[in-house]
């Protein structure tokens, strides 16, 4: 309510300033046109003021009725007709009544050689056309500023959303990693210190390197390999984890931390879910800018459903993709009774 009131107040103020500037400039312009020799006299001031008062009405009709209701609603033909009618009616009214009125109000002045009727029609036409162009320019200026403000706001909103999503991923990942190290430490395994170093490398990447709009695919692949190696400390059946990576451009730019949640998800619900038939298969390919990531793991329905946060990682990825790869990605989930597969494709035109 306050915002609306403030907006109306600003609009009113802008309209007031616009009209004030327009009519002051118009007064000066007409004054020097009517004075002809560049030295306006009292009679010229009176005539200019009086003349301007008759042209204000058609101009305001044009500004606040014809332009918003016809021109801006793309009724161009109706606008053109209404515009011509506006000029004709008010110039004719001026021809009929203005001289009598000004003579009645200022009987002691002789307003003789100002303009002919044809000139008057030209003045009305040109003035209305010029003021229309000025009005449209000013409106465009305001529209553009408004658009820019909207874009900035939208951008800020997206940035906030992205930051929010990342902040949901990082603690999630950290929580899982600490669990892994905790498990190693409990068993007093010698690999604990190596695991801590690897986690440190992963976190360095997550905290410092991933805070850009895009990273090189090789860095993202290195992260995944690090993560998989890290997970090997925890899981015995690591021979069932395959990571096939075929890329023709290792500097292919990609949104950071896009793939890790998918791998995390597979480890969480695949390896952990079914000890006997665990597997994770990851196929990453990049050929001619067409990126494809295909990950599949074993799946037990009861395990997935028992976890209250089961869908959080995938949901975050989907939200992220809609923002960072709008209409240039394909994200699909395939579920069978025993397998869970996710495919992600990024299309060529994004890059």
């Amino acid at each position: 309510m306050n915002n609306n009131s403030s907006l109306h107040k600003t609009t009113f103020l802008n309209t007031l300033i616009f009209n004030l500037v327009l009519w002051i400039c118009s007064f000066l312009l007409f004054l020097f046109v009517f004075a002809e020799n560049g030295h306006p006299k009292t009679i010229d001031y009176i005539y200019t003021g009086s003349f301007l008062s008759t042209i204000i009405v058609p101009v305001l009709i044009n500004f606040y009725i014809l332009i918003p209701f016809l021109l801006k609603r793309e009724k161009y033909l109706f606008y053109a007709l209404a515009f011509v009618l506006n000029v004709l009616v008010f110039s004719q009214l001026n021809i009929w009544f203005f001289d009598h009125l000004i003579d009645y109000v200022f009987p002691e002045y002789y307003f003789i050689s100002y303009h002919s009727n044809i000139t008057l029609f030209t003045i009305f036409s040109v003035f209305l056309i010029v003021t229309t162009l000025i009005k449209l320019s000013v409106d465009w200026f305001y529209f553009n500023s408004h658009e820019n403000r909207q874009l900035k706001m939208r951008n800020q909103l997206i940035q906030a959303q992205l930051a929010s999503l990342r902040s949901q991923i990082n603690p999630h990942f950290l929580f899982n990693s600490l669990n892994v190290i905790y498990a190693l430490a409990i068993e007093n395994k010698a690999e604990t210190k190596d695991a801590i170093v690897q986690l440190s490398d992963i976190l360095r990447y997550v905290i410092y390197d991933a805070n850009t709009e895009r990273v090189a695919l090789k860095d993202e692949v290195a992260l995944l390999k690090n993560y998989i190696e890290f997970q090997r400390f925890r899981n015995q059946q690591t021979e069932n984890i395959t990571f096939n990576c075929t890329i023709d451009n290792e500097n292919y730019p990609i949104y950071p931390m896009l793939l890790l949640p998918l791998v995390e998800n597979s480890f969480k619900y695949g390896i952990k879910g079914d000890i006997d038939h665990t597997f994770i298969r990851i196929d990453l390919t990049l050929k001619d800018h067409d990126f494809s990531f295909d990950i599949e793991n074993n799946y037990t329905e009861s395990e997935q459903e028992a976890d209250g946060h089961s869908g959080l990682g995938l949901e975050n990825i989907e939200k992220n993709l809609k923002i960072v790869y709008p209409k240039t990605h394909e994200f699909k989930i395939f579920k069978t009774a025993s397998t869970f597969r996710v495919t992600l494709k990024l299309f060529k035109n994004e890059n």
Partner: protein, 224 residues
Amino acid sequence: MKARKSFFIVLVIGLLLTSCVVKSLHPFYTRDILYFEPQFVGQWMDTDSVHWNIQPFKEVFLKENHHENPSELDEDELKTYNNYKEGYVVYYEKDSTKTTFLAMPFKINNQLFLDFTPIEDRESQQTQNDLYQMHLINTHSLAKLDIVSNNSASIKWLDQDKLEALLKADKIKIKYEKVGFDETILLTASSDELVKFIEKYMNSEDAEKWKTDIEFNLKRTGEQ
């Protein structure tokens, strides 16, 4: 020295002769307000015993071109005839000098006016050489005509002082130029604008708006 003195005398005489009436490049009338008043035709004498002979232009024109009726006129003549057929030819005789004017009568708000243009000045033409004549241009002047009765009429020219007073007070916007050594005001406004000016001037609250030194009270001296 002598030449400078002569020039000065000519200039002073010129000033005396050319001041007083408002002069215009364009006629003070438009065709739609022309109004031929037959009562004005005839022989008149003013208070200074100056003889005025007023004749309809169309009759004088046909007579001078040796025709009986307009159908006999050629194209150029017919054009002139049609342009001025509502007018009068005014023969003005003063102190054995004869000048001829074209006076176009017109009516604004039921008031008769005459637009005067000099046509011929026999004496001047005899004394002035061709080169001098080539530099002269005839202007229009405005006179208010009141036909008081069948035998009396008055003609009052619009005084230049009145126009100058309006211009000086910045109360009039009308096209004009100042010409010559004496900076005589020459109106350059169009005929439409001049008619507009006369209409406005007629409604002026100035009680002495037609007061002028150039005023003639005429008495009829013969038949119409």
